[in-house]
Symmetry: C2
Subunit: 152 residues, 2 copies
DNA sequence: GTAATTGCAAACGCTTTGCAGCGCC
DNA sequence: GGCGCTGCAAAGCGTTTGCAATTAC
């Protein structure tokens, strides 16, 4: 439920992506930047297919390219990849810290911020492991499924 | 890295599974209990294919049945299903609380216990959501991949 | 110019499904 | 004996791959 990314941050990230691409001696294709722009328009975590359908309407690009570019955006640390369920990977902007509440019955995912939890993670240190980011999934029952269960 | 499940707990869980099956008016097939027994022998999180190959050597059973039974064991709250990466779901005994340290480079998964973190979760309450369990994945670089990176 | 990147389509791997026959209740 | 469960095989679906054509540098 976060507000759309503001244009200053957008510009900054676009610049970082451009730098990243250059540093790897890769090419700045229009497809890559078109995809990045659509990424900014996503309000919550999204999957490749959602992003693809969203882009497709105004820019001709194929799924494989979306996969490739999103992978690049993860390497560049603009996006992060999460595995919430069986179906497909979910992506989110890196600065968007929250937990996922996932209903075991209907599969609905809710994003929840919890500062205490974030602090708890910041403090953690691991031997022989350089942590980059945390992905926390809490499985349970959403309110409407709880209600449904009671009726039965 | 946990010790094998001791026989008392095993007996208890077998009983619970039997009860669960009866309560749903399902059948106590030998396949279901053979699979449960193999589940107890797993030392860390495992996937369906590992479990299947492990069973197959001494008991004729097909993949679909393993999928079905493991799903039942999750419903019965003996197992929990985690999504660590793209490839496949990972399963663990419910009483085995730990985080997963996942290397972004080689994909290796390490299990780590952290009591502070568990307590932090216990305290959390969510509006309109009945939490059942938490699955925490920490992505980063393992020590050997960190070393590899430095060399380049 | 030339090598990286794209679109397309086929391949891949995990999981689910449909179905005929078996066996638990 | 009936119907739930099994094995088998095929289908489904997200993702990856191979390749010829395109295009950024």
């Amino acid at each position: 439920m976060k507000a759309k990314v503001d244009s200053e941050i957008k510009e900054h990230l676009r610049g970082r992506f451009a730098e990243f691409i250059k540093s790897k001696r890769m090419r700045q294709t229009p497809e890559r930047f078109a995809i990045l722009d659509k990424v900014f328009e996503q309000r919550v975590h999204f999957d490749i297919d959602e992003l693809y359908r969203d882009i497709e309407s105004e820019y001709r690009v194929c799924r494989a390219t979306v996969y490739n570019t999103v992978e690049l955006l993860c390497e560049c640390n603009i996006l992060r990849k999460h595995y919430l369920n069986e179906n497909q990977a979910a992506y989110e902007l890196s600065d968007d810290r929250h937990l996922h509440l996932i209903c075991l019955n209907c599969g609905k995912v809710r994003e929840v911020r919890d500062e205490g939890f974030n602090e708890c993670f910041e403090k953690m240190k691991f031997r022989q492991f350089k942590a980059s980011f945390i992905s926390t999934n809490i499985y349970g029952l959403c309110s409407s499924c709880t209600r449904k269960m009671k009726k039965e």
